[in-house]
């Protein structure tokens, strides 16, 4: 269990709940109840039936034949892009809204960067008939118009975060402030494996359906329940947390976390937190984060809006510090190339976040007989404009 959260909410030295007293009752309520509620039979039944009938799970584990031929190993893609709303994010929002209902909450808030988590939250709020407010940086609102429209169509109110750098980290600040202002009736659905305990563990558990399915599917296809390597991209780290979860204690499985190098680690325009970050506190947890020498949180950069978060979930910080996982960073250019390559080799257009993970076969050699599972966390529809600009399509 050394890679899982401990009783105090820590992964090794990372995690905890560094929150203002105003948030204490909310977070304490969750901490006391999340395990009990999510292990109730009626909760599990509702969660599983929605994942099956509404989200479309299990998602396929697809053997990518042409990709495998090109790179000389057995590559499988876990098709989270085929989920309703187009990414893994909905696994978590379904889980959290069921939890919120059982806690008697009437109002849901969320933060979003590119809009994927916002759309996944607005979707489940529509499904459950709950009020939904999504905070989004003013700059992101301008560059992610289709997702803003989706959220509005789904009945959510999108509130611009106008403070600070007006992107994801500021949207998160604003959502936290909203929660401080509405402590009783509101549940905050955090979209990544970050935040104060129990959020990282709760989000990870809801996302762990990914690795649970991989185990079963590999058993059927390969007669073994674990790959040699499991690969996922990592911003805050929710898809990675879900893809790694059931393999954490199996040290035979090599874990590869792929960060966004942006224009290069040394370029000053990067989001490679493990390389550039230091231990500190962000959004309620102790983890690795990008900051100035003086402890001010800095603005990361990546071509993919979903990876440009200045921190990384505390579980991942621990996987890095304990060397359980291999951390590799991929530049914008290499990720874009890998996205185009997958489209042309396998007929799948991936999200640019995911394209970072797909650049690993080019970057790192594998043996011919090795089984590598790459978590295909999202589809690329939302990124078409970026692909168009980049490749002059």
């Amino acid at each position: 269990m050394k890679y899982h959260v401990d009783q105090n909410g820590y992964y090794g030295e990372f995690g905890g709940a560094y929150i203002p007293e105003m948030l204490y009752p909310n977070v304490e309520e969750l901490r006391n109840q999340y395990l009990d509620i999510t292990s109730e039979a009626s909760f599990k039944e509702e969660f599983e039936s929605l994942l099956r009938d509404y989200v479309g799970r299990p998602t396929p584990l697809y053997f990518a034949k042409r990709l495998s031929e090109r790179y000389g190993a057995k590559f499988y893609l876990k098709r989270e892009d085929l989920n309703h709303t187009g990414a893994h994010k909905v696994n978590n929002t379904i889980g959290q809204i069921l939890l919120a209902k059982r806690l008697g909450k009437q109002r849901i808030i969320a933060e979003t960067g590119a809009g994927q988590h916002g759309v996944a939250t607005a979707t489940v709020c529509a499904l459950m008939g709950m009020q939904c407010v999504v905070y989004m940086g003013e700059i992101d609102i301008a560059r992610q118009a289709p997702n803003v429209a989706r959220m509005k169509m789904l009945g959510a109110e999108v509130r611009p975060a106008r403070s600070g750098s007006r992107t994801l980290k500021d949207a998160t600040n604003e959502a936290i402030r909203d929660w401080i202002n509405n402590p009783v009736n509101t549940h905050y659905i955090i979209g990544s494996a970050i935040g104060p305990h129990p959020y990282p563990d709760m989000v990870t558990r809801f996302q762990s359906v990914i690795s649970e399915e991989i185990q079963k599917q590999l058993q059927e296809k390969e007669g073994r329940n674990a790959p040699d390597h499991i690969v996922a991209c990592i911003g805050g780290g929710s898809n990675a947390a879900g893809a790694f979860y059931h393999f954490l204690d199996n040290e035979q499985v090599n874990i590869i976390a792929v960060e966004a190098a942006g224009k290069g680690i040394e370029s000053g325009h990067s989001a490679a937190t493990s390389a550039l970050g230091k231990k500190g506190i962000i959004h309620g947890c102790k983890t690795l984060l990008m900051q100035t020498e003086d402890g001010q949180i800095t603005e990361p950069y990546s071509i993919s809006a979903g990876l440009d978060y200045p921190g990384v979930g505390p579980m991942h910080a621990h996987l890095y510090a304990s060397r359980r996982a291999e951390f590799i960073s991929i530049t914008d250019d290499d990720a874009m190339k890998a996205g185009l390559e997958l489209a042309q080799l396998e007929g799948i257009i991936p999200a640019i976040e995911t394209a970072h993970a797909l650049a690993i076969p080019e970057k790192r050699p594998f043996r011919k007989d090795e089984i590598v599972v790459i978590n295909l966390s999202g589809r690329g529809d939302k990124d078409l404009n970026t692909y168009i600009d980049h490749f002059k399509l």
Partner: protein, 259 residues
């Protein structure tokens, strides 16, 4: 005895003012502190600016952004505060978020505070249990009081726990809000002030958040030892600068006299 405890023993209706160090200008820290003491303020909270102040509203956030742009850092603040005790006798508290303090080094931060004559700290995102386990001994070594917040939602058992760990005053957040809200105090807030008053805590309480004028100051101090004004003071500072400080403080106090 710590200057804070002494002040709290001597006086009622404590008026404490918060400002962000480095705002409006990088070198305004000392002139603001002097003007506040001269105008009869009882206690000062010096805000160490942070890029992501979660518990604060737009006024304090914007002043923090500006202060950081102006070049304020932890090291610069300590440099400015070196000689502060030559002129200033009222209690001084530093309010800052935990990450910059962690990066500076908690022990070194406390040592510098002690050297400069700082009496206490408010670190809103350092939870009381972590403080007690990991940092309390260090704070005590340097004679620094650590001040915790309570809110209307804080359960009584936790209020009592915080009371036990505190040794100066308890910062009573007036309502469920971030700083800078301005709606005045209704029956609900008054009920909360009375409820906490009736607990007979060891430590006096000072009310903060939502106090912006003489009227809210009077309401807040009826059932508490004093009140803290932050956002309203910063708005005034933005509008009228340091020379407007005396008038602002008189405004808070005078309405009280008239009533």
């Amino acid at each position: 005895m710590n200057r804070i405890n002494k002040k709290l023993q001597e006086k009622d209706d404590i008026l404490s003012i918060y400002f962000t160090a480095g705002y409006p200008g990088l070198h305004d820290t000392l002139p603001i502190i002097k003007a506040l003491q001269e105008s009869g303020v009882d206690m000062i909270e010096i805000g160490l600016p942070f890029s992501d102040p979660l518990a604060d509203g737009p006024t304090i956030q914007e002043s923090s952004v500006q202060a950081l742009k102006n070049g304020m850092t932890t090291a610069v603040l300590f440099e400015q505060l070196k000689a502060v005790r030559e002129d200033i006798s009222i209690p001084l508290i530093i309010m800052g978020y935990f990450n910059p303090i962690l990066q500076y080094g908690v022990e070194e931060f406390c040592a510098q505070c002690a050297k400069a004559g700082i009496d206490g700290l408010i670190i809103p995102d350092l939870p009381v249990d972590v403080y007690q386990k990991e940092y309390m001994a260090t704070f005590e070594k340097y004679g620094l009081a650590n001040i915790f917040l309570i809110t209307p939602q804080t359960p009584e058992s936790r209020v009592r726990y915080i009371d036990e760990v505190s040794n100066a005053f308890i910062y009573m957040v007036s309502s469920a809000s971030v700083t800078g809200s301005n709606s005045g105090f209704g029956a609900q807030e008054q009920g909360y002030f009375k409820r906490i008053d009736a607990l007979n805590l060891r430590n006096p309480r000072i009310v903060g958040f939502g106090i912006s004028n003489g009227e809210t100051f009077k309401q807040a101090t009826e059932f508490a030892k004093g009140a803290i004004i932050g956002s309203a003071f910063i708005r005034q500072l933005t509008k009228k600068g340091i020379k407007g400080i005396g008038e602002f403080v008189d405004g808070i106090r005078q309405v009280k006299k008239i009533l």
